[in-house]
Homo-oligomer: 194 residues x 2
DNA sequence: GGGATTCTTGACAGATCGTTCAATAACTGC
DNA sequence: GCAGTTATTGAACGATCTGTCAAGAATCCC
């Protein structure tokens, strides 16, 4: 054994994530990460690897943060549609929070990298698929419980809710107030319910 | 008078716009713009100014490109809701086109710059407000014609359609196929109509 | 055709960025 | 307390980027 680290890895990754979230990948320099974390260059490189690896860690951290708003849905508990409302409310809250760093780190990563970077692309795809699966399960439950209006397919509901989830941060960023976003979510859920 | 330009300004701006659209602002170097346009550095600087000014021109060009899918809506012509369907179809087509450079240049600019750059911010805001006004007018017309379901407010419809417009390119980028997006748009319009 | 003006070409300066190297400091296990 | 190992610090290197400078080429007006 030898000299132990003088910092908390998780805390540092939080700060790194927030910095990337604020400024994007290309606009974040190592110097920015130094000031954000209070660490020296070499400490970052030794502990996490290069900038690219650090960004992948940030994506993982961000995905985990989002997952906490998507608790495992259980039949016989809350209504599936209320689960969706809860998640979209969390999306609105995060997006319109006054100290929200930016839009959505995943959206930012997707627009900044596209599919040029295979690692980033895989992480973003995995995130989308996980959200899609979570929403899809709730939509299927809602149908099974007879809570969807006639002619409303669960798969289509899934796509609609996903569009809300990914579109809301953009609208918030362009100045649409939180209550207006909430009203639209409420209307959508009301119109697809039986 | 003196030596005239040996290139078409509009064509060059098109190529510049596409390059920024593909790679984002920070990831596009002047060298990339040189190869994309076939022009030399100095020609670009002399004709358009610096990189920042070039990006603003690209945003203007992109906004004009989007506007052509939002023809002035006239009462007594096509149904307002069909106008909205047409616009969202254009959004889907652009987003899922195999040679689509990326998501949406405006979304990219919003996520990359946030509100740090006042010029870019203003252009993105103006774009959002213009789209919002266009959709809002159609929603109001739809209500005036009694085409909205009871309890469906035009302002809320506007927000919903905007979320679709800005969210669809993200979903397309994350692999959701065009027909699935189209189904969700059709469902949404069906559920808000009377 | 000559002169003035502008476009174009190539090269370069100033700055910044990501990454690495060498040296110092700090801690553990014996 | 000592040796070994690891974190930390500071400086430096190579590459890249934006913006500019000076020289050459091409065109229009008279």
């Amino acid at each position: 054994m030898a000299r132990p680290r003088q910092f908390d890895e998780d805390l540092v990754i939080d700060q790194v994530t927030r910095t990337f979230w604020e400024r994007g990948y290309a606009n974040t320099s190592i110097a920015d990460l130094e000031t954000a974390t209070g660490l020296g260059r070499q400490s970052l490189y030794c502990a996490f690897g290069d900038k690219h690896a650090l960004f992948l860690r940030a994506l993982e951290r961000y995905a985990a943060f989002g997952d906490q708003h998507m608790p495992p849905a259980a039949l016989n508990s809350t209504s599936p549609l209320e689960h969706l409302r809860y998640m979209l409310r969390a999306t609105i809250d995060t997006a319109t929070s006054p100290d929200a760093p930016g839009a959505c780190l995943m959206v930012q990563a997707m627009t900044e990298f596209g599919d040029t970077d295979v690692d980033v692309h895989a992480k973003c795809q995995a995130n989308s698929r996980r959200i899609e699966a979570w929403i899809g399960r709730l939509a299927a439950e809602a149908e099974a419980l007879g809570m969807l209006a006639p002619g409303v397919a669960p798969a289509t509901v899934t796509t609609l809710v996903m569009t809300q989830h990914f579109g809301i941060p953009i609208l918030a960023r362009s100045g649409v107030p939180a209550d207006q976003l909430q009203s639209s979510v409420d209307l959508l859920l009301k119109q697809i319910a039986s």
